[in-house]
Symmetry: C2
Subunit: 288 residues, 2 copies
Amino acid sequence: VAKFEYSWQWAYQDKFAKAGLTALLGSGFDPGVTSVFAMWLKKHKLDTIRTLDILDCNGGDHGQAFATNFNPEINIREVTAPARHWENGDWIETPALTVRQGFDFEAVGPKNMYLMYHEELESLAKFIPEMERARFWMTFGDAYITHLTVLQNVGMTRIDPVMYEGKEVIPLQFLKAVLPEPASLGATTRGKTNIGDIATGHKDGVEKTYYIFNICDHEDAFAETGNQAISYTTGVPAMIGAALLVQGVWGGAGVFNIEQLDPDPFMAMLNTQGLPWQVRELDRPLDF
Amino acid sequence: VAKFEYSWQWAYQDKFAKAGLTALLGSGFDPGVTSVFAMWLKKHKLDTIRTLDILDCNGGDHGQAFATNFNPEINIREVTAPARHWENGDWIETPALTVRQGFDFEAVGPKNMYLMYHEELESLAKFIPEMERARFWMTFGDAYITHLTVLQNVGMTRIDPVMYEGKEVIPLQFLKAVLPEPASLGATTRGKTNIGDIATGHKDGVEKTYYIFNICDHEDAFAETGNQAISYTTGVPAMIGAALLVQGVWGGAGVFNIEQLDPDPFMAMLNTQGLPWQVRELDRPLDF
């Protein structure tokens, strides 16, 4: 069973330190790149980060009535969990999929995104202690929300076992067996992802807001690797994290979240390894 | 596996005839009462039936986001099957849930009903051979349709097995295990059912249209029997059919659909056993 929290991994700190080994946590896109983005902004553009919003937009269309872009069990558990964001030193919980915000994503267009919990909020709140607010947003189309609501209503997203012909079956795991295999969607997925961070803070006493993001094209990713952009944006950062450890650029004895390590070599490799990023200064902080 | 056709039961005709036994087919509400209604109209009000429409309205609300009022496997298979109606000697098939018609049901109010196939059409087309058209309609709310559409989209209404942890699991049967047990809905169901027939035909050379129907109240049914109106309207006609056989009022050697037997004693018992019916002459045939 997947655990969307770091506590059980952080508990290995002493064992790794004692053994002289390095553990790198969260080296995908989100968590992963989104945390590195935040730390790069803090290193180069801002002295402090007051608010951070992570915006995860998948503008891809796989042509199926309903399918998840990665492991349905993880995806559906994330989306149906209560939303949680960090605000003034506390976690604020709101019911799943109730806070909705429109946003116009470059290269994708306007989408509705929903406040969610995502595990990098836990480590970012720890490693950027001055943050007043940190939120995570993910886009979903209306049809996706309708499908998910129905699956919740009928009990198919439950993770407790149901007795079926004398055998325990977990509804969400059976649903996974019925839904399309995410890997099978690669060949038909069109469109782009746009995932990034918007951070507001001070630099030399002046408030500034920056938007840093990557755009990845599903068809280009599939042409290069045989997998669409969700796999690409997850796999390439994992490779970069591993490469930096192997090369000795990153290291140390203990358990490290990716935001504890120098962002610069990671950011450089993103640009050379197929996930180029852009940074823009915005006129003002987000008004939502 | 349920079979929505009579052929395999009709095939027992010779065996039952030879053994001197009576088999009574379709003694519920629909099939059952709806066929008796048609034959009573043909016996008393019409010389011939040109068109017959069976209108099945459940105006009950069980207070759940989604649940079926009887065996979910049967209900969902019926509803997701292509619609089929009898017209000019042929079966006309249309995709499931695509032909929708509003209708104002007495004691319930206006509802959307959908063209469906229902097994009494098979026997009525045989035993009322002059019929030009016979159709079956059932009401569903928009939320029910949305839930069903989603369950179809994700594959949860499939009746072919899916491999799950080395075991074959039929999605629709597993869905049944997850959905509320229909019997559990009785205590919370409010509202009424209104199920009946509209028949147009000639009497003494003049065209006439009759509407014959029963209204059953979910709460009254539950107060009397501990089951809501869906169970009540199914169980009472089964009891009446059995009673007429046991009393020797109905009988014969062989396999009989309920419409082959005299409707009068059955219609009389409906009135005394909790399912009183009403018949009205309408001004004109249905305009849909």
